[in-house]
Symmetry: C2
Subunit: 382 residues, 2 copies
């Protein structure tokens, strides 16, 4: 468990120092440096003791911050606070460039488990009927294969992706640019509440803080960091979703983009990324999962190019976990996900990830009541 001090210090910093706003808020860069060097607790002590030069504004805010009151506010709105070291803290945030002070979570889902096999599906608010239909299909297709859908609950593509996932009952992740008690846009309160019923609503913004333009940009880094890969469904040339794709690229996550009519400006940003080689062209959930969970890749997060994997079809190409799951499967008797998870002492979500990867490449197939082993045909896999 995480020490109480660490949790309280991080909560206080979340209120006092907004990530990405160090410059705009006239707080000295020394604040961030101090956190990096001394950790949240150490920096906190230094700030309160007046040891950080030029940080008088921040110090005044700190002295006014009542951490206990903050904690009860979080509880009152039905949220919880997680920090690094907590079981629910997602692995994808272990990167200095993206780590928030804390995450405020709302919902029944377990964030780390959902994010372990989740895909970011993002796009324009100014979407077309075509783009929304594709986003819904992707959301449903990913969800029905056991994958979570991460998005921003915005109008347009975000909402369509969430709705597609909800339609098949998959736990998803909505990442907000406002406090856990707020919803932006207001019209999506019900959508966000529905996501919380099976999945998780995530934000780094404290209770009461409203959505602002700069918060969408910092929020985008969390969408990218919580996803195995990011898919842009529709994006005009200046769509904010391209910012999310940029974060994904910077974090080494594969980026997919859905093509559309060349006559539609809503697809222009996608086409540009594809033709520059900055995004893979994807047309459906299977294409996306080939990016998110390539067979044979020992480190799913460090992949370079799925296409380069070529037509290898031998079980030798499987990763260790894929191989374990493959070995438990029988060719003719169906095994339930629960059974496999128990056999291997792996979380169900982990088993689902491996099954999805195995199924994609023809090493496993889903039957009426469980999974069977398959021997993939020798033909090239694309």
């Amino acid at each position: 468990m995480v020490g109480t001090d660490e949790r309280r210090a991080r909560l206080a910093w979340a209120v006092v120092l907004e990530i990405g706003q160090e410059r705009a808020s006239h707080d000295p860069p020394a604040l961030c440096r101090s956190i990096r060097e001394h950790g949240h607790v150490g920096a906190w002590h230094r700030l309160v003791a007046g040891e950080l030069r030029g940080a008088d504004g921040a110090r005044a805010r700190v002295l006014q911050t009542d951490v206990d009151a903050e904690l009860s506010r979080v509880e009152r709105v039905g949220a919880r606070v997680v920090v690094p070291g907590d079981d629910e803290w997602p692995d994808g945030l272990a990167d200095e460039r993206v780590e928030p002070h804390v995450l405020y979570l709302r919902g029944t889902g377990h964030l780390r488990h959902v994010a372990a096999c989740a895909v970011g599906v993002v796009g324009s608010r100014a979407s077309t009927g075509y783009g929304e239909a594709v986003a819904r299909d992707l959301g449903a297709g990913l969800s029905s294969r056991g994958w979570g859908v991460v998005s921003g609950a915005a109008f347009g593509i975000d909402a369509a992706a969430h709705l597609g996932a909800l339609a098949v009952g998959g736990p998803g992740v909505a990442v907000l640019a406002c406090g856990p008690d707020q919803v932006y846009p207001q019209a999506h309160r019900r959508l966000v509440d529905e996501i919380a019923q099976t999945g998780v609503v995530v934000t780094e913004q404290p209770v009461g803080r409203v959505a602002r333009r700069h918060r969408f940009l910092t929020r985008n880094r969390l969408i990218a960091a919580l996803s195995r890969c990011v898919v842009v469904v529709e994006a005009g040339p200046r769509s904010g979703s391209l910012n999310t794709a940029g974060w994904a690229e910077a974090l080494g996550r594969p980026v997919g983009a859905v093509p559309g009519p060349v006559t539609s400006m809503a697809s222009a940003g996608c086409h540009e990324r594809i033709s520059r080689g900055e995004a893979h062209l994807v047309t459906d959930a299977e294409d996306v999962l080939r990016l998110a969970a390539p067979i044979g890749d020992p480190d799913l997060l460090a992949r370079e190019d799925v296409g380069a994997l070529g037509p290898a079809r031998d079980a030798d190409v499987l990763t260790q976990h894929q191989r374990q799951v493959y070995d438990v499967l029988a060719p003719r008797r169906e095994s339930s996900v629960g059974h496999i998870a128990t056999e291997l002492a792996l979380p169900v979500t982990e088993v689902l990830t491996q099954l999805a990867a195995l199924q994609l490449e023809g090493f496993a197939a889903q039957g009426e009541s469980g999974w069977v082993r398959r021997h993939p045909a020798g033909s090239p896999h694309r």
Copy 2:
């Protein structure tokens, strides 16, 4: 000029030995080998002298072939025969894998000049309204920039591309899978005749020969060989136009593909090629010309990847011919294409090619009555 014997021998071979059908017609591979080794005249003598083993069938056909009658048949249908060495023989056919025995041409255009800056625009017969609109726009856009459009005069994408080019009066090339007197489909007789009025109708099939499935496949290699690059506008997963793209790839021509809705099977073949890295995503005529005539490439036909050229903007990157044209242009006084051609003793089509490439990258601009020199901005060129 080409020797009479060579022309007559090639004409006879065109009647006797259909390229791509050596196996199906029970002719021994020795026939083709003999042509490769001894040339059309030498192989002809050997065949007539009975020196080629197992070629009795071909020899019988040869002895029945009346070359003079064949020549007058060609003349009677308003066609002409060209062979390697003739001024009109296109440079792109100087490749053992694609060289036909002869070409039968019809129309007022000069094939070598038109093909010197031409793009193949191909696609499904089973096209959608979207695909046809894009093909028309591409045909018109390429034509209005002085580029020829090469296609197969088929229903769907082919026809739309030709019509777009005709709409702006550009000389185009229709490559047929039947004799120069035939038209397939019949409904396109008027389209083909219109192409002949300003451009060229091309075939390697003798007078009277009708279109057959295998002839479309061999015809496709000519479309690819007569084009600087080939663009697939719409193609289902098994469309014949992908065969043309395959030929272009084999011949080292860049291949472009137009994306479309992922919900449309008519775009599935395009998406597949793009995502495999076998085609560049193109959305308009400018994208296509970037593939066909990349700035700074010393050998236009040997280019690898336009994208790799990056943001270079200095006139140093120009090819020799581009540089010549650039040097003739004045920054404020407009120069006509005819003037530039005269100054440099270059064909008008060559000047247009270079101007199109210069314009694309901002080194030249078109005014009311001619062209001016420009200094391109320093921004990245895509």
